[in-house]
Each structure stands twice: as structure tokens, then as C-alpha cells.
Symmetry: C2
Subunit: 195 residues, 2 copies
DNA sequence: CAAGGACTATCTATCAACAGATAGTCATAG
DNA sequence: CTATGACTATCTGTTGATAGATAGTCCTTG
């Protein structure tokens, strides 16, 4: 991939994180990159193509990051919570898939499909990592909603507040599974594991 | 409030639920209502005014709905989960504050302020109803994220999947508080109440 | 009671800015 | 020589916003 093409996607990603699909124009992207708007059209014929490419790249990057982190820490809940935390504390504060997912009904077909693919990927991975479908949906909803909340309130600390319980419950469940210490914690583990 | 003004806000709300702040134009609203775009400007001078008014109305309506439902069911987690569920299963599927909150950084000042006010109101109410700040943030994040997830996946059932655990844990905690049956459930109640 | 003025709500017409997209041109590198 | 990647120029459509005209309503005042 050429440098310019990458730069275009970087600029589009940044603007999509802030304003969604309608939050960027070819002219703005062109200015960001330092080229003309028609040159953006050369690399990505339509806005739909560009947005879809950005979302797909984000999904791929996320998937790879999670795999990498799972090698260091085997607990999926901790890994996913930390990964989304990285987004919350990044300069742009938001996951573009979340911004677009919230306005999903107004998206061109290809873009909506990619966004759907992102969340499907997240959920499938969580299930493959041992969570029940409903626990996976719960974890994904909580970290996604925490991003929205922190963004709307303009307070990154809200992300940590919202995910504190998730991590604590999970820690309790893990402590039990890996080092049973009686019925008190066993009960908790059962709740968390069942789904 | 005049019928026309209400009709304008209704139309704007519907479109904002689908496409956010950039997802509607004065001309579209005018067509929806059956008037001219300049007449929309008469009632709401700028797009910012209109969007802010819609969000404020949504926040007030939500607050009133919650109060009403709490009279029938004293459990805040159940009430809030059910209220947002109503949105997920409504025709538009989304809460406009969530759509705008996700793209909060691209919003005019007044609109961003109203969106922030909505989430602040939700959190304050949950705390006033007995939840700890972090439990409130967790519940709000989960139901907000569940809306986004269900919307992006185009599957309302995802909302129920994502909130199943929330309700079950809560039920266990409540059963314990209101009818103690030994140390096994007491432990859970403590976890849920603490935060 | 009637005349005058102010207010409300809608209209027509128009503006400048900006959008996405296309056609055709030009330079350069393999 | 040709394929690539960027350019210039331009089209068509839409946008938010404003100005000014018009008609209806309502209150006040003589």
C-alpha cells in the first residue's frame, strides 16, 4: 500500500472517530494529507469505499492486537477491557466502529456490512476464548458503552469506573477456577462461568 | 408548544436516531412535516438549536418515564434495563443521545452540553436510587453499549443477550437482600451493593 | 365597536459555501 | 511506450441561512 493511500486512510480514520460517516469530506481529507480532493477519489472512488476500507483495517488491527495480548495474558475479559481502554485514552478517544455502529441505519451498505463484521468478530473471538454467548455480549456491550459514556461526558476516567466491576468479578472467578479456596468464591465462579 | 413545533422536533428526533447530527437537513425535516425549510428556521433558528431542543426533550421524557416506572417496580437496574429495551425494540431502535454521544467531539457546543446532561442525569438518578457510582456507570454502559451492538448487528435480540447477566445478578442480589437464606447468597448481595 | 399596531407563522426567492463525482491532462518511472 | 499517480477544471446538486412579502390573530386604544 502506497504511503499516500495509508495517509488518506489515517486521516479518514481520525475524522470518522470524531464525526462518523458524515463527519468527513474528501476535501478535508485532501487538506489533511496535502493533496487535492480528486486525488483522494483516485485511491478511493467513493466515500463508501474509503469508509469501508478504514473500518476493515481497524477490525484487522484489533483482531491482531487481541491475539498478541492473549499470549501475554490468557484472560479474555482483561485483554479486551484493556484494548478498548487504549482507545478511550488515545488522542481520538473513540473506536470508529462504535461511532458508525451507533448511526448504523444511515450507512451505505458496504460500510454497514464492515461495521457489522467488526462486532461479529469481537463476539466470535470472545466466545472462542471461552465465554458464553451472553457473557460475550455483555462484556462487549459494557466496554463499547463505556467508550460512548466517557466520550459524551468528556471524561476518560468514566471508562475505568464503568469497567471496574467487570474486572473485579472476573478476577474473583479466575481466582476460584485456578485456586479453589472453598464454597464462598466457588459460587461466584459458577455465576461468571455459566454465562 | 404549537403542533408544528412538536412535529418538527418529532421529525428531527427520528432522523437523529438514524444518522446523528449530520443525518438530517432542514429541507428533509420540512418535507417530513409538510412545510418549507424556512419555516423550520422560524421555529429553530439554527440546526444547533433544533438538535439541542430534541435532546433536552428526550432527557426530560426519559427522566419522567423512569420515575413513573419506579413506582411500579422499585428495582432501578430492572427499570433502566427495561426502559432502554423499549428503545431498542422501537421503530427507530436507537437513543438519539447515544448516537450523538458517540460522535460527541464533532458536535456544536450546545448540543454536546445537552448530551452530556442526559448521561449525567442517568448516572445521578441511578446513584440516587441506591447504586454506587461505579455500579451506575457499569449498568449505564452496558445498556448503552447493548443498544449500539443491537443496532450495528441489526438484531434486537442482541440487547436481551447483553443484558441477561445484568438482570440475573441483580435478581440474585435482591433475593438475598429481601429474603436472606444463608451465607451463600449473602456474599453476592455484598458484592452488588458495595459497587 | 372599530381602527391601529404588534406579533405569529408561513411563504417565495436567493445566497454563498460546500458536497461528491467525473473527464481529461501531464509528468515520471519502469 | 505505457502504466501509475497526481493534477486542473468543472458539473451538478445540496446545504444552512437570510431577507422580504403576505396573511392571520390578538390586544390595545380612541
Amino acid at each position: 500500500m502506497s504511503d499516500v493511500k495509508t495517509a488518506i486512510m489515517d486521516a479518514a480514520e481520525r475524522r470518522m472517530q470524531q464525526g462518523g460517516f458524515g463527519g468527513f469530506s474528501f476535501r478535508e481529507i485532501a487538506t489533511d494529507v496535502g493533496i487535492k480532493s480528486s486525488s483522494v477519489h483516485y485511491h478511493f472512488p467513493t466515500q463508501e469505499d474509503l469508509a469501508a476500507a478504514v473500518i476493515r483495517r481497524w477490525a484487522e488491527y484489533t483482531s491482531e492486537l487481541i491475539d498478541k495480548e492473549l499470549e501475554k495474558d490468557p484472560d479474555p475479559v482483561r485483554v479486551w477491557t484493556k484494548a478498548f481502554r487504549g482507545t478511550a485514552f488515545s488522542e481520538a478517544h473513540m473506536c470508529p466502529c462504535t461511532v458508525l455502529g451507533a448511526a448504523s441505519q444511515d450507512l451505505p451498505e458496504q460500510v454497514a456490512k464492515e461495521v457489522k463484521g467488526f462486532f461479529k468478530m469481537c463476539q466470535d473471538k470472545l466466545v472462542a476464548e471461552g465465554l458464553s454467548p451472553s457473557k460475550a455480549a455483555e462484556v462487549l456491550s459494557t466496554i463499547t458503552g463505556a467508550l460512548v459514556l466517557a466520550n459524551a461526558l468528556g471524561d476518560t476516567a468514566e471508562y475505568d469506573r464503568a469497567t471496574r466491576n467487570l474486572l473485579r468479578q472476573n478476577a474473583a472467578a479466575l481466582a476460584d477456577r485456578h485456586g479453589p479456596r472453598g464454597p464462598r468464591t466457588k459460587r461466584l465462579a459458577k455465576v461468571a462461568a455459566r454465562d
